[in-house]
Symmetry: C2
């Protein structure tokens, strides 16, 4: 592919940026909060909106039903001789509460100036994940506008339940394996190392999310009449949660660290040279002291070590003023970030046993599981990785780094296990994007150069010859699936 | 006073019961929730309503302004030769949440059948305290209707901030000391021993109510990106609250039990014979195991021992589903029931030190005090007590018992300290009245016999000659106040 053609596409991106923003803003205006059933119609509208947007690239796009919010699926015409990537993103967004802490309405996107002068785009979903998804779609649009087609084949797969555990999306993958054939998956839901340094994420922590509800008295009691004699479920809950950590900030659930490995020496050395300090990482969010295991580097605490966080807790009277009750129940939402070697099912069982052992005989405990996904480590020598790294380095004028992410994108494990697809994780988020929080934003520069980055990555992937190495399997299909002895499918590449 | 006259008044109570209920219901329909500023106008309306009701007895009644909700004050014409009681109650009620657990709208009072066949009155405030206050007002109305006047002088003092700590009522007492002269206070805000056994409460636990807010990060954080590295304020809070108790359920705050005495042997023996079992007391609310100090009787745990309860807790995401955040803040409402010998100010300081010592350096803690009242023990040989006990025993056909209450009526300490008034605590609540909880109720029998009880008590108090022992002090006033060396007033009776 001639450099002049690539340059023309990049020029088109620059010239069309205002239109790209308008298209992004139209999507951001739809409050597609997947967690709250009240926004189900908005989720569907957001799905329809992006399907129409993809269709405007000349790609047939459709909404595919699931037991929950629909999946948007679109495929370019299949040319057997071209590489084929599956692009994954999600159109659902996090809830917006506490709403009172937003400085602008979350679904009225605005372009404005950050206090340090950066131009930013502010809205729920501006980064996670609508803004990121649009960097890819707009890159495709630029290719299509300038050259009349995309440089390789693409399956667009945009789901609507990423923020609530993708429970219905995983069965969708199983049910549509044949249609979802591709060479690699591209995922745009991660961050840069910092505002000037692009990154490819090669490991992700897993996520186990549990809700615990303790019920004591059959009704709220007056704490004067019953106080001292009657069990208080908030006390039971806080007592249990208070025992989850020891004085070195290690998690006390028996077996929790079983199978957790230390970093390879060379990775540890590379991370140490990145020199992530509390000043850099914690000060911008008002903190100063690393809160994880005391004998670990801060970068380990947030990237390669398993964690436990209490994400929400509620019980009793939480209105204004005072109310002297012993409540009937109390509950907490608790999540664990898991690393390679930890089995979510085993950790869940160990956590539940830990709680159950500490619940008094006259209280009841109920659990609800919101998600359970293992950590994944991608192969650092995966073939498209070098090409993407080169493309990113050219765009940003600084060498792209390979990083581990503390966050979880559980679907990446499912792509590997169920579709045999390795994923290339490239994203343009920054640590101060306030994702999952009030005032979520996306830097305009990240959006703009993100589009340009994908333009370059698509060109680089299209020029690679790796796809040609696909061979027909014994059944005569192009698809490199074979069945293992347990009937579970895995990829011959894995 | 002739027995025939007393009998006529009691007969009038029986004949007028339906009208008494109508008057109570009209008051219950006013949602006078003092804790929530949105109900300020309703509080004023409830004050106006009861003032008008008292005025209908021929007593001049008025609303007196405070910095908060107004106080209702009414006085019968002062006849120097008659005993004078100050009747205290409150027109404010507790909040109604969780509203979804009510089986009827809380401010649409209904007379209905309890599942065991008892007739009950259901509404917020049905017992606490509108129903109880109306037993006294209706008793006065019966005396007035039959005899044309009350048998003694009464000052009615109905406040509107009892449920939120009486912060503005106490200064009101100070500012109106002269107008509030009386011989004794009557307080109707307590319970019977059981549905057949009337009781006079002679000790009350104090109440210290604190709110604690822990702030960590300056905004909500993504628990994947920051988890492990960033301090989680819910974890800080639950860790601290989890350390408030040891394995024997004793409170671990240093100095908490300083000054706390064991029960006098004779009281301990009497309480032991009452034989309060978990089956009797806890089973009706779905519990089985006494939750207080392991080496104490259940009746001690709820009556004579100090306690700590977490009345409310909230932090992070509490909506449906999951949200992977580390919240910026978490807070809890915590109350202590105090007993004789404990100083609320000292306990507050000890509690705050306990919390502060455990807050990490990069978190902030804020405290809000909602109330601080010491426990009080009334003199078991207080003069009107024997007369009231006799009257109650006659009405209920069973000897009234003298009990300690685990609950707090802080104003009783203020009556003693600021007005020099001893209080006689008589009430007709039952343990299953669901006060401060959904489906609050008052037994119709308690209401009816409560009115009859007050009719008898008023007769008994009017016949006593104790009021004649009042003497003019040095300044020529009837009121038995003297000033102490620190300028603080106390009663010569105390």
């Amino acid at each position: 592919m001639a450099n002049t053609k690539l340059q023309s596409v990049l020029d088109h991106v620059d010239a069309d940026l205002e239109n790209s923003l308008e298209r992004l803003f139209a999507w951001l205006r739809i409050p597609s909060i997947s967690a709250d059933p009240a926004f189900a119609a908005d989720c569907r509208q957001a799905a329809r909106h992006v399907a129409d947007d993809i269709a405007s690239l000349g790609v047939s796009a459709e909404l595919r039903e699931t037991a929950g919010h629909p999946v948007v699926m679109a495929k370019t015409g299949s040319a057997a001789a071209r590489p084929h990537v599956l692009f994954y993103g999600h159109y659902d967004v996090q809830p917006v509460d506490p709403l009172e802490l937003w400085h602008r309405p979350p679904f009225e996107p605005q372009r404005c100036l950050h206090e340090d002068g950066r131009e930013i785009l502010v809205a729920r979903g501006a980064e996670d994940d609508k803004g990121q998804v649009m960097t890819f779609i707009e890159a495709c649009r630029a290719w299509k506008s300038v050259t009349g087609s995309l440089p390789l084949d693409v399956t667009f797969l945009i789901e609507g339940e990423e923020e609530i555990g993708s429970k219905n999306f995983v069965p969708f993958l199983d049910a549509n394996r044949d249609e979802l054939r591709a060479d690699y998956a591209l995922v745009c839901d991660t961050s840069m190392w910092n505002a000037d340094t692009p990154a490819i994420t090669t490991s992700l922590r897993g996520l186990l999310f549990e809700e615990v509800k303790i019920t004591g008295p059959s009704r709220d009691l007056h704490s004067g009449v019953y106080g001292g004699g009657a069990r208080n479920p908030i006390r039971v809950l806080t007592d249990i949660l208070g025992r989850l950590f020891d004085d070195t900030n290690r998690i006390t659930i028996p077996g929790f660290y079983d199978g957790v490995k230390n970093l390879p020496v060379d990775v540890f050395r590379q991370w140490k040279t990145l020199n992530l300090t509390p000043e850099d990482f914690l000060k911008p969010v008002g903190l100063a002291i690393p809160a994880g295991e005391k004998d670990r580097l801060l970068i380990e605490q947030i990237s390669s070590r398993p964690t436990c966080d209490i994400n929400g807790i509620v019980g009793g009277y939480i209105g204004e003023g005072s109310k002297t009750i012993i409540p009937s129940m109390a509950s907490a939402k608790i999540s664990f970030r898991l690393v390679e070697g930890q089995d979510p099912a085993k950790i869940r069982a160990a956590f539940r046993s830990f709680v159950e052992a500490r619940v008094p005989g006259d209280c009841r405990v109920e659990f609800e599981d919101h998600s359970a996904a293992p950590a994944i480590a991608l192969a650092w020598d995966m073939k498209p990785l070098a090409a993407a790294k080169q493309a990113l380095s050219e765009e940003w004028g600084r060498e792209a780094v390979l990083i581990g992410s503390g966050a979880s994108i559980p679907i990446v494990a499912d792509f590997k296990d169920r579709l045999g697809l390795d994923s290339l994780l490239v994203g343009f988020g920054l640590d101060d994007d306030n994702i999952h929080a009030p005032d979520e934003k996306y830097d305009l520069r990240c959006f703009h150069k993100g589009i340009r980055s994908w333009v370059r990555i698509l060109a680089a992937l299209a020029e690679m010859k790796w796809f040609r190495r696909r061979e027909r399997n014994a059944a005569g299909a192009w698809w490199p699936w074979v069945s293992g002895p347990d009937g579970r499918r895995f990829s011959s590449r894995s």
